[in-house]
Every structure is written in C-alpha cells, then in structure tokens.
C-alpha cells in the first residue's frame, strides 16, 4: 500500500504520467489515485505543469528542424567521426625501422613509408656491395687463364 507522502514525492518528481514512474510502484500508485481524492488532485496539478513544460520545449524542438535536418546532422556526424578515426589510425600505425631516418615518417601514409624504406635500403646495399667488392675482392686472373676458362668445354660423352 502506497502512502500519500510517497505518492506526492513521485508525482512531484516524475509528473502525472504514471508510465514514467518506477515500474515496481506503478500498480500501487494507480490504486491510490483511484481511491484518494487528494492523490487524484495531485496528478491533475502535475499534469498542468507537464503540459506547460512540453509547450515550453516545443519551440526548442522546432528550432532543431525537421527530420531532414536531423538526418543531415547524422550524416555530418558520421563523416566527421570517420575523418577523425582515419587520422588517428594513420598516426598510430607502426612505420618501420627506418622511421628515424625519415623524420616525417609519422605524418606519411604507411604504404609510402614502406616503399621509401625499401628503396633506401636497396641503395645502401648496392653501395655497401661495391665498397666491399672493391676493397676485398680477389686479384684479377692472369689473361691466359681467363682465355682458357672462356673456351667451350669438350663433352666426351657426345664424342662417343
């Protein structure tokens, strides 16, 4: 059984619409509003305030435009959020071991950074190969020996 004090507290918080009231207290509230004149009057008073609040917020709702404007707002929101996520992802991706060399690597797209890294690595490898080859390569073969190497080999199996 709900007391009138509790009924008043709920009415003065949630208003006259019992659907807004806590579900577990609705049944008792309906019962009391049917049996108590005072409870019924309370609901009538709160309904007047509900209607006034609804009327006061109606121009505010109209200010936010028709459905088409709300749809447009959602489209804008999706685009802006997607753009910010894309920026965040690009900055968060690892850019490879050569990033220290590139300086601006963190601001470039990961694909471009990878290509540039591979190209730079290739150039280093060629230069290093030439240097090592030039410094520690074998002595040139004598001209006679080289000529012998360039002669076609004799295939004894075919000769038979």
């Amino acid at each position: 059984m709900m007391t009138l004090k509790r009924f008043r507290a709920l009415a003065q918080s949630y208003g006259a619409d019992l659907q807004r009231w806590p579900q577990e207290e609705r049944g008792a509230a309906e019962e009391l509003s049917g049996s108590s004149e005072e409870a019924h009057t309370l609901l009538v008073q709160e309904r007047a305030l509900d209607e006034a609040i609804a009327a006061a917020t109606a121009p505010q709702d109209a200010q936010h435009g028709p459905q088409s404007e709300r749809d447009a707002a959602l489209v804008r929101l999706r685009a802006k959020v997607a753009a910010r996520l894309a920026v965040g992802k690009a900055q968060a991706k690892p850019v490879g071991r050569l990033s220290w060399l590139l300086g601006t690597a963190s601001h470039s797209s990961p694909v471009r950074v990878r290509r540039f890294g591979l190209a730079t690595g290739g150039v280093f490898a060629i230069i290093a190969g030439l240097l090592i080859g030039g410094l520690s390569g074998p002595a040139p073969a004598p001209v006679g020996a080289l000529s012998a190497l360039l002669q076609p080999a004799t295939l004894d199996i075919l000769a038979d």
């Binding site: 003065q12 918080s13 807004r20 806590p22 305030l49 959602l74 929101l77 965040g88």
Partner: protein
C-alpha cells in the same frame, strides 16, 4: 594454422560485438554504432546545449572518445547504451558548466499578430518564460529531465547514465519541477 573467419555482418551485429570489433580497429563497425546511437546522442545534446553547432561538436567528441575507450568496455559491467550515453551526457554537462547560459533572444517565440486574443498572448508569454527558466536549470537537473521526460528512459536507466542512484535522480527531478512550478505560478 589457417583460421577461417566468416565475413562480418555489421547491420545485424549486437552492440557489444560492434564495440569489440571497434576495439580491434574496425572503423566500419564503429560507423554502425554511430548510425544506431547518433540520433539519440544528437537529440539529447541539442536539448542540453542550445547552440546546435556546439551540440554536434560535443557528440562528435563523445563518439571519438567512445572509439578510443572501446577496448575498456566490459559488457558484464554495463550495457553498451548506458556506457555510451554516459559519455555523451557527461560531456554535455561539462560543456554547459563551462559556458555561461546565454540569454534568450528578444524575438524568441514571437507572438503571432493574427492570433490576437489576450489569452493566447498570455499563454505564449508564460511558455516563453518557462523556456527561459528551463535553460537556467543546473545541467544535471536538465539532463535528468531530458532523459526521463523526453527520451522516455526509466529513472533507473537515467540513474545509470548519470552515474548516480535512482533516489538521487528523483531528487534532481523534484528540485527541477519545484523551481519550474514556482516560476510558472509566478507567470500565471
């Protein structure tokens, strides 16, 4: 070992699944979240923040924050909507606490000269007064009213979003209504 995964179907995926995919970096999954919950977020923000552009910016910030915190979401602790709406409402409240309430423009809710009748004029004046008073409510009181009166959430749901008890929400509503009742009676 070869792992065979079925293609992701975003439209039918539950919120909790979308947020777990988002935590893996799936932006398409997060876009689906924005499609589903953006309208609610925009509606609530536009009621709590009178400047439409600022309201959109706050919702955008809330969504980006939800994306960056998606790996921390635990569906055993809270429903996804409660978690997301709490981010949205808290940012709206913070925004409103930072900015001073703007005075209503002089031509707000102009009287239609065709209506003419004194009663209509009085009612419209009273509505305009109440609208001004609504904008003066503390952000938490306004948020509680929006969630329960406008969005139809229960007191318990609103309490979870606002991070307080249902009793505390009830007190917020009671204070807001007492303030509005007094102003409405003064204007009547």
């Amino acid at each position: 070992m070869l792992r065979i995964t079925s293609p992701r179907v975003y439209g039918n995926a539950p919120d909790a699944t979308l947020v777990s995919w988002s935590a893996e970096g799936d932006t398409r999954a997060f876009d689906e979240i924005v499609i589903r919950h953006g309208p609610f977020a925009l509606r609530v923000a536009s009621r709590l923040i009178p400047d439409a552009r600022a309201a959109e910016d706050v919702v955008q910030e809330a969504m980006v924050r939800a994306w960056s915190q998606s790996r921390h979401f635990d569906e055993r602790r809270a429903r996804f909507t409660t978690w997301l709406y709490r981010i949205v409402v808290n940012l709206c409240i913070d925004h409103q606490r930072r900015v001073q309430p703007e005075p209503m423009p002089e031509d707000f809710d102009p009287v239609d000269p065709a209506a003419g009748a004194v009663e209509t004029l009085e009612v419209m004046e009273r509505d305009a007064t109440l609208a001004r008073e609504l904008s003066k409510l503390p952000p938490r009181q306004r948020a509680a009213m929006t969630l329960i009166y406008d969005e139809g959430l229960s007191g318990a749901e609103a309490a979870r979003i606002l991070g307080m008890s249902a009793k505390a929400v009830e007190r917020l509503l009671a204070r807001a209504r007492a303030f509005l009742r007094k102003r409405y009676a003064a204007g009547a």
